[in-house]
């Protein structure tokens, strides 16, 4: 095996930018940084060409280049002599490189600014380690901080996740159990689950861990950002470092946001995310080729997720997708038959004391605000409005999933609706934004709206 073949994979993950030197036909050198060098076989690397820049112009005139590459784990430096061969504009390599670039561009709001023009293939002519680049490490009595990640034990982790998710009594409990088990078993501290909405064109965050209470209900379009790309392509995506374009893009976006004013009553929830994330991994949750959701984890440490993590999460994801489907089927199988009278009986007296909460329903976009705060919209917004209207107009607070499913005004899709996951979202948003209202399960397929405040309703058309 040659030195090039034995270079650590971390050198090719773009953690520390490589440098490339080229020379024009008139003898003027040019040196620039590369976000990533891709090793494609034992004798070739690929570089992404996003703009027709001086490097590309030079190698078309004079194909020789020299690259300095770094191992991000110990800063060892390697020197590659390479020769430009060709540009690929389609095919598997191009698609893989383009997906990564599109995901980064989309994630940072720079879609259209960065796109792959070609995957440029170079032959590796020579590879050497830069002996003497580093001084020997001094004997240092103070050790590096310990890795916060829990030591791995593959079977133990899988067992933990499997046990917790299998025992979760409800869909809601399943998501909580999953994210808890991932932290406890393998040390994933920042994680979230997103599910597709009834249109299939958007995803909403239904559970998160490590981001505080914010972010439940945040929505993204399929195809948008890293997670949206994973949903669209149904392929996992691992970024070992939030490389140069991503950090740069985030800096641009932050400055745009800093100069923008705050709109009143903004019906948006930002997706949870670490502002200083270095590693990200997202996997599609697929049951029989049906997208049940996306599981995403983040870390502040570069190279925190490797192939092992990706394979592990893939296995977990397969199991979780099946568990989601089975939890939904279980809840449905226990639903009351059509036309059954809801479990309760006595109309509930709405609270006359305590605070009065004002709910506004904006019919134009099915959006519910409590006070001046955005609460929820779309299908769960329509459901909440129906429940509140029923409670205020008739005093009825006990409901069944089935009656919601049969209510044409709610507009649930006829086949394979997602009512259960939308109720999980509604329950969690109420816990966070309006704890005076609670959706309490009263048996499979049955629930009660508990109201501990006065309620004022306003329909805004």
């Amino acid at each position: 095996m040659t030195l090039f073949e034995s270079l650590p994979p971390a050198c090719f993950q773009g953690v520390i930018p490589a440098a490339i030197s080229t020379c024009s036909h008139d003898g003027t050198p040019n040196v620039t940084l590369l976000s990533q060098v891709f090793r494609i076989d034992a004798r070739h690397v690929a570089l992404s060409c996003q703009f027709f820049n001086k490097t590309k112009q030079n190698v078309l005139e004079n194909p020789f280049a020299t690259v300095e590459l770094y191992d991000p784990l110990d800063f060892t430096s390697y020197r590659l002599e390479i020769r430009y061969e060709r540009a690929e504009t389609c095919g598997a390599l191009f698609d893989a490189m383009a997906l990564r670039i599109e995901a980064i561009a989309s994630h940072t709001g720079l879609t259209g600014v960065f796109r792959l023009r070609s995957a440029d293939i170079y032959e590796v002519l020579a590879c050497e380690k830069r002996e003497g680049f580093l001084i020997a490490p001094a004997d240092d009595p103070s050790p590096e901080p310990p890795d916060p990640r829990v030591p791995r034990s593959e079977l133990k982790c899988l067992h933990l996740v499997s046990q917790r998710t299998a025992r979760a009594p409800t869909l809601d409990g399943l998501f909580t159990a999953l994210l808890e088990a991932l932290e406890e078993g393998i040390g994933f501290r920042h994680s979230m689950v997103l599910l597709p909405d009834e249109t299939g064109s958007r995803l909403f965050a239904v559970a998160s861990r490590g981001y505080g209470d914010e972010g439940i209900g945040a929505e993204i379009s399929v195809g948008d950002g890293l997670i949206g790309m994973v949903a669209r392509e149904r392929r996992s995506l691992r970024l070992s470092s939030m490389d140069s374009e991503l950090r740069y893009g985030r800096a641009v976006r932050a400055s745009v946001q800093a100069t923008g004013g705050r709109r009143e009553l903004v019906a948006e929830i930002p997706l949870p995310g670490l502002p200083d994330a270095q590693s990200q991994l997202a996997i599609p949750l697929l049951a029989c080729d049906r997208l049940m959701g996306v599981l995403a984890v983040e870390s502040r440490t570069a190279l925190d997720f490797d192939e092992w993590d990706e394979a592990f999460l893939d296995i977990v994801g397969n199991q979780v997708a099946a568990s989601i489907e089975s939890a939904i089927l279980r809840e449905r199988s226990d639903e009351a038959p059509a036309g059954a009278v809801p479990a309760s009986e006595e109309p509930t007296q709405l609270a006359r004391r305590g605070p009065v909460r004002r709910f506004r329903f904006f019919a134009s976009d099915d959006c519910v605000f409590v006070g001046d705060d955005y609460l929820i919209r779309n299908l769960p917004g329509r459901i909440l409005w129906k429940l509140l209207r029923s409670a205020v107009d008739t005093g009825r607070t006990d409901f069944t999933n089935r009656e919601l499913r049969l209510d044409a005004s709610l507009g649930l899709p006829g086949l394979r609706d997602n009512l259960e996951s939308r109720l999980v979202l509604l329950r969690r948003r109420l816990e966070q934004k309006c704890p005076e209202l609670k959706l309490v399960s009263t048996g499979r397929g049955h629930f009660r709206l508990e109201i501990a405040c006065g309620v004022e309703l306003e329909l805004v058309s």
């Binding site: 930018p17 030197s21 001086k54 680049f133």
Partner: protein
């Protein structure tokens, strides 16, 4: 014809950024080498760049052949990057009192790396001494920050 650096570019260049020196041999084969210190002359048209002597064999041979070079300065955190092109005016061993310049560069560079998630200790292992001092006359400046504007010529500033 020498060009002059704008003051804000001097701040960028002397701010502990990542520095890569490009040269080429008589057959137009390019070479790249990380620099380990820099100071801009009072005229802002010259700068002295320090490279580790132990790694500079090819770079020195190239500069003795043709004295043509390019050097890129890139801020680790926000990726502001500029590329300068010029000619070598003189080359000598760095003086003992110049070592502090490289030490200051290394401390600032390690701090930038630390802010994007790397251990300071990692960067502090970069060999900075003994070094060679390259006195360079600037002929051209280019923006190199990633994006559509990379490669744009920067007009000399006041």
């Amino acid at each position: 014809m020498p060009v002059q650096l704008a003051k804000e570019l001097v701040e960028l260049i002397e701010g502990g950024v990542s520095m890569q020196l490009g040269t080429r041999d008589k057959d137009l084969r390019p070479e790249v080498l990380r620099a380990v210190g820099v100071t801009v002359g009072a005229d802002r048209s010259t700068l002295t760049v320090y490279v580790p002597a132990e790694l500079a064999e090819r770079t020195l041979a190239n500069l003795e052949d043709n004295a043509t070079l390019a050097i890129t300065f890139s801020h680790v955190i926000d990726h502001r990057t500029v590329q300068l092109k010029g000619k070598l005016r003189s080359l000598r061993r760095a003086r003992r009192n110049e070592r502090a310049l490289s030490e200051r560069w290394l401390a600032a560079f390690a701090e930038q790396l630390h802010m994007v998630g790397f251990s300071r200790r990692l960067a502090l292992r970069i060999r900075i001494w003994p070094s060679l001092a390259l006195e360079i006359e600037l002929h051209d400046l280019f923006a190199q920050t990633p994006g559509p504007g990379a490669g744009r010529r920067i007009e000399a500033g006041a």
